[in-house]
Symmetry: C2
Subunit: 169 residues, 2 copies
C-alpha cells in the first residue's frame, strides 16, 4: 500500500528558531551541567572539575565556548596570600538561564523525584513558595489551556530586509 | 605559592538534583531538538527525520529512550487507505516540557535574536502577550531579586528513610 501522507515540518526552521539557537549554545549534557554548577555558585576550573568529575579537556573546551557565547566571563583574581587565579563567573546573560533551569527543575520535581525537592524557591519577603509559570502582561499566572502559539515563520527574513534596504531602493 | 583555597561543590549532589536528573533524560542536543519538533506537532519517524536531518539510527535510539522515559508514547495508527504506521505523540509528561522550553525560547529571544521572535505566546481570551516568569502562591509574578533558593541537601535521604523504616525498628 502506498504511503502518500505529506511530510510535516516544524513551522519555524531550526536556523530561525530561538529555541534551537539556544540549544546550539547550551544544549549538550556537559554544558548544561557546568551551567547548573555555575548557578550554584561554582566559578573556578578545579571546582567545576571536582563538582562534576568531568574530563579536564572537555571542561576547558566547554568553558571556552561559554565565554565565547557571552554566558560566562573569564576573569583573573587574587586572594590574599594566594597566587593569581582565573575564575568564570556568570554574566547577566548566564544568570538569566536561572528561569529556564528552574522551570526544568520544576518538571523534574514533578515527574522524576517522588516529590522529593532538595531545592525550592521562596519569596524573601513573604516566605511563600515560588514557582515558574506562564503569566500575562499584568503579571498574573495563566493556565496553559488558555494560551496559543502565534507563529511568524518569516519574522527573521522580514527583520533582515528592514535592516538592509535593497540597493538602488 | 601554595593554593589552599578549599574546593567548592554544589550543595545538592548530581544524583539528588532534579535538574541534573532531567538533563540525564533530555539534555543532549538531538533529544532536545526532537522534543522541540514534537512540541511543534511532529509525531512520525520520517517527519522527525526530515525536520531535523538527523541520522536514522540516532533518531531511532533517541525515540526509544524518550519512550522508555515516559516522555513520548509509541502508538500504532492507520489512516484511511494507508498502511499501518507508528507515531510518537507526547505524553502529559512530555507536553509539560513546554514550560521550560518556552522559558528557554524567551532567553533566546532576549539574548540571541536581535529582537526577532518567530514564535510568541498569546492569551486565547484577551490576546495579551504571555511570558514565563516566577510567580508566588497567589499566581502573581515576582521579581528575581525577591527570590531565594532554600536548599535541603538531605531531602532525598530523609524521604528514603521515611519510605523504608529500619529493620527491627
Amino acid at each position: 500500500m502506498k504511503d502518500d501522507t505529506p511530510v510535516r515540518r516544524s513551522p519555524v526552521s531550526l536556523a530561525d528558531c530561538n529555541l534551537s539557537r539556544s540549544f546550539e549554545l547550551v544544549g549538550d549534557r556537559w554544558t548544561l551541567l557546568i551551567l547548573r554548577s555555575a548557578l550554584y555558585g561554582i566559578r573556578r576550573f578545579d571546582d567545576f572539575q571536582a563538582d562534576l568529575d568531568i574530563p579536564r579537556t572537555v571542561l576547558s573546551n566547554r568553558l571556552a565556548g561559554l565565554v565565547e557565547s557571552g554566558i560566562l566571563e573569564k576573569r583573573a583574581y587574587r586572594e590574599e596570600g594566594q597566587r593569581s587565579r582565573v575564575e568564570y563567573p556568570l554574566t547577566d546573560m548566564g544568570r538569566a538561564l536561572m528561569l529556564p533551569f528552574m522551570a526544568m527543575t520544576q518538571w523534574g520535581d514533578k515527574y522524576l523525584s517522588d516529590g522529593v525537592m532538595p531545592l525550592t524557591l521562596r519569596s524573601r519577603k513573604t516566605g511563600e513558595r515560588i514557582s515558574v509559570a506562564y503569566t500575562d502582561e499584568q503579571g498574573r499566572a495563566v493556565s496553559f489551556a488558555d494560551i496559543e502559539a502565534v507563529i511568524d515563520p518569516d519574522a527573521r527574513k522580514r527583520a533582515a530586509r528592514k535592516r538592509k534596504p535593497a540597493k538602488g531602493g
